[in-house]
């Protein structure tokens, strides 16, 4: 007798092969039988008629490094069908970190990943230093599977101390970093992440950017020894820079026989030729034997902001940027100063767009008002309210912000990566992996969840750019292959029973909402799932649409090829 049998499902097995109606049996956390009309009873039988049964989705670009230490479910990923998250991207991890570097690492993480300080400080126990200790600190409480990269910036900090922020490494330091990376891989890291882009809380390059090419090469050699993966953030907004980086990654991949994956591959109206050029370059590198994998997110960029916290939407408009960098009292004063207002309005209409975004102020939406009398404005565009009132939309925004002491929340909706026609082709390209979702990051700016449902709603149902089977493959088997997660990503006997049951006609992401579920004070944005019926992690039911999350903590630390080779 099986522990669990899911019957009458439309099985999308994660290979991209045509779906079929069938049953899947589960025992001891593994898939033990797959077929049509499977014989044998089960302690629990689920009739999934009319629904799709797929391998649990794998989210390859997340930043749950902090959250996972207080929330072993990585909410709300599970409810979107995600059963495995890959943490530690972009050179930033919570280990290995010496005690004396915790404050710095925390500040960098909060800056780059926009995590509220109160939540971070209240949630983080910091009862570890090594990578092994870090993984051990949360493994027992996992309801979701977690694979973790070792962050290049953390390797540098551990070996070089504060000099990691200042200079290239010596040969001896590089050798120490290699040894430290080996230790991380042996402890369970699936690879290493690095960045050519990120800056810290003091606007200085993150430590890994101080690495000379020979340092990165030496670390890639270690990855090659272990069959591990490297993730990197390149200059994703500039075609020439990105293509040159792809060449560098191609060389590293060939030299060390490693898979390198970069994120994001990002479409922008400012550079509409970027994605086709980058893909052409990837194709060239792959044809020459490299394993270079671009990751593309499914959703457009939405940014929600208040004026008491600087946001990148304004970074290319000098007066706006200078004004909102000031203390709130001074920002308020500037917003009322006629001369400053004149400049702000002028820049709003005539200023440069920020990198890879297109920001049109009148299109901003008033997403939350502080004063009851302004509540009727919520959900409306500035230009529509201004038209009613016979005023300028930017002046209206400034007036509202002043009236509510900078507590009005505005949303810049769909400001980048929003051209469905341009994105549909690349996202269906076999070389492109769905990723870059950023779960666990930017929590006070936008919801990074639901990209899985969005893939089905926009690119399968609306645009018909992908078949159902192809979309499932892109969220499961393809990622497992790229990252070396050999026992997941497919429905096949012997593999882990990570499974999701969903309605193909309505799977989607819900609207963005603010919730106050962080440790300490503060809120975050998230999206609830639509159409996801049940989720299983290693054979245990962890979520259902009817009952929500269960008490099961069946998640595991997932190792890739690296651990097996170590």
């Amino acid at each position: 007798m099986y522990q669990l049998k899911i019957s009458n499902a439309l099985v999308c097995d994660g290979t991209g092969s045509p779906a079929y109606h069938g049953d899947v049996a589960i025992q001891d956390g593994k898939i033990v039988a797959v077929g049509t009309r499977l014989a044998g009873d089960a302690a629990t039988v689920i009739d999934a008629k009319g629904l799709v049964l797929a391998p649990g989705f794998i989210d390859s670009h997340t930043h749950f490094d902090a959250q996972i230490t207080w929330d072993g479910l990585a909410t709300p990923s599970l409810e979107h069908g995600v059963t495995t998250v890959i943490n530690g991207n972009c050179s930033l991890t919570m280990a290995p970190v010496r005690a004396e570097h915790r404050a710095f690492v925390g500040a960098v993480f909060r800056q780059i990943e926009e995590m509220p300080a109160a939540a971070f400080d209240a949630g983080m126990r910091w009862n570890w230093e090594t990578f092994e200790e870090y993984l051990a600190s949360f493994r027992e409480a996992l309801g979701i599977n977690v694979a973790t990269l070792a962050g290049h910036s953390m390797l540098r900090l551990w070996v070089m101390g504060d000099a990691a922020r200042e200079r290239c490494a010596s040969a001896a330091e590089i050798a120490d970093m290699q040894q430290l990376l080996r230790q991380c891989l042996h402890a369970g890291a699936i690879g290493m992440s690095t960045s050519w882009v990120d800056i810290d809380h003091e606007h200085r390059p993150v430590p890994c950017r101080l690495a000379a090419p020979e340092e990165l090469d030496a670390l890639c050699a270690v990855l090659g020894e272990h069959g591990a993966v490297m993730q990197v953030v390149p200059e994703f907004w500039d075609p020439d820079l990105l293509c040159t980086r792809i060449d560098i990654l191609g060389d590293l991949s060939r030299r060390h026989a490693i898979t390198v994956t970069f994120s994001p591959l990002f479409d922008s109206n400012a550079t509409p030729d970027l994605v086709p050029r980058a893909l052409e370059r990837v194709r060239l590198q792959v044809a020459h034997g490299a394993r270079v994998v671009p990751q593309m997110q499914t959703r457009p960029i939405d940014v929600t902001f208040e004026f008491d916290v600087p946001t990148s939407v304004f970074s290319s408009r000098p007066t706006w940027w200078a004004t909102i960098l000031k203390p709130a009292s001074e920002t308020l004063r500037d917003f009322q100063d006629p001369d400053v207002r004149r400049q702000l309005v002028d820049e709003a209409y005539n200023g440069m767009h920020p990198i890879a975004m297109e920001v049109h102020f009148p299109e901003f939406v008033v997403s939350r008002c502080h004063l009851p009398r302004n509540k009727p404005l919520e959900g409306r565009r500035l230009k529509d309210i201004a038209a009613e009132r016979g005023c300028d939309p930017v002046e209206l925004m400034l007036d509202l912000a002043v009236e509510e002491s900078l507590q009005t929340r505005f949303s810049a909706v769909s400001v980048g990566h929003n051209n469905l026609e341009r994105i549909a082709g690349p996202i269906s390209d076999p070389l492109v992996q769905v990723g870059s979702g950023d779960g666990g990051a930017h929590v006070t700016r936008f919801a990074t969840y639901g990209d899985t449902g969005y893939l089905f709603s926009r690119f399968v149902r609306d645009a018909a750019a992908l078949t159902l089977e192809q979309a499932v493959f892109k969220l499961t088997g393809q990622i497992a292959d790229n990252w070396g997660l050999q026992d997941r990503g497919r429905i096949r006997p012997g593999l882990a029973a990570d499974l999701v049951i969903f309605d193909p006609e309505c799977i989607d992401r819900g609207p963005e909402i603010a919730v106050e579920d962080l440790p300490g004070e503060g809120y975050r944005y998230l999206r609830r799932a639509l159409g996801v019926e049940q989720v299983f992690v290693n054979g245990s039911a962890v979520y259902s649409a009817q009952q929500g999350y269960t008490d099961a903590r069946s998640g595991q630390l997932v190792s890739g090829r690296a651990r097996r080779a170590a």
């Binding site: 200079r167 290239c168 050519w196 800056i199 003091e202 606007h203 200085r204 390059p205 890994c208 950017r209 101080l210 690495a211 000379a212 090419p213 990165l216 200059e235 500039d238 020439d240 820079l241 293509c243 040159t244 980086r245 060449d247 191609g250 060939r254 030299r255 370059r281 060239l284 590198q285 020459h288 034997g289």
Partner: protein, 69 residues
């Protein structure tokens, strides 16, 4: 594995302690220094306008030729 892939643009990495002068001298030893620096900077605006306190790093790409037409 060697390849014959031609770069999209000629480029180099900065060395530790490099500035525009030292890169110009190394990459364009035959050219007048001011002219070489001006060209280098015009091909690498993303580095020229990088806000302080960030600076050239050894992992940056410095283009040593103009963008393709």
């Amino acid at each position: 594995m060697q390849t014959n892939i031609v770069p999209v643009r000629p480029w180099t990495y900065p060395r530790e302690g490099d500035d525009w002068q030292s890169i110009a001298r190394r990459e364009f030893p035959e050219r007048p220094l001011d002219e070489a620096i001006a060209d280098l900077q015009s091909w690498n605006l993303y580095l020229v306008f990088r806000p302080a306190p960030a600076r050239l790093t050894c992992s940056d790409i410095v283009f040593t030729g103009p963008p393709t037409a």
